[in-house]
Amino acid sequence: MASTTAGHLSGHAAVRARYNDVDPVYREVRELRLFGFVLFLLSDCILFGSLIFAYIYLRLSAPVWPPYLAGHQLQWFDTSFAAFNSVVLFGSGVTMHFALENWKHLHREKFFGWLIATIALGLAFLGGQAHEWAGVLRDGITWSNTTMGSSFYCLTGLHGLHVFIGTVFLAILGLQAKYGVYTGSKYQGLVAGTLYWHFVDVIWVFLFTLFYLW
């Protein structure tokens, strides 16, 4: 039915026609579920926002930054590797966007390719974060010995947890797509997954700026 309605259209118009070619009750429920998911993302913004403002407060109220540890001033976090790792994560945002677009345009094979690329880049980012943590630990910065360390591990750890949950989320969505849960007009889970993935990308923009550029 969707294909007949959208058959004479092309591009975004066809996608929109297919998207709206559903039962009115389902459409209403879909909009409410989407709104609920956006509210969830906003609540996560508040969580990260409170921790980010705590970090800003600690940093601005410190007499000197980076703080001293055992008589020596700590080094700034190295930007080079973080910049590379950021590109990996932002790249995964682009691949996830392509995945959703391909699903909307009924290109199933390409969808799975882009989704797998997204998961792989997400895992690569987590590997990069583990490498970063190991380097910071080698520099003597631990969770408990400085406010710099506790802020860094808390915020990047919470973000890393979100990325990990996101990769599991995307893997489940991939399995659901494979087993026919989603169609050309009903793919709300994929939209939610894409929004979530973009959200973790954007949170990283703020963390990268705070820890590596400021």
Binding site: L41, H97, V205
Partner: protein, 58 residues
């Protein structure tokens, strides 16, 4: 160098996707536009960091 090239490519792609989706309607499209825009800004920041304009070198 990889970060520089990557930031340019990813930033351009994000910008083009944002431009393509600019006319899209709906809550999901609006949120996606905001998030893609911020991601493009992130790519610009990474670009400046990779050419030593911003950030610190260990």
């Amino acid at each position: 160098m990889i970060a520089l090239v990557g930031a340019i490519i990813v930033g351009l792609v994000a910008f083009v996707q944002l431009k393509n989706d600019w006319g899209a309607q709906g809550l999901d499209a609006s949120v996606t536009k905001v998030l893609l825009g911020l991601m493009a800004v992130g790519c610009v920041l990474v670009l400046f960091a990779s050419i030593n304009v911003l950030g610190y070198r260990g």
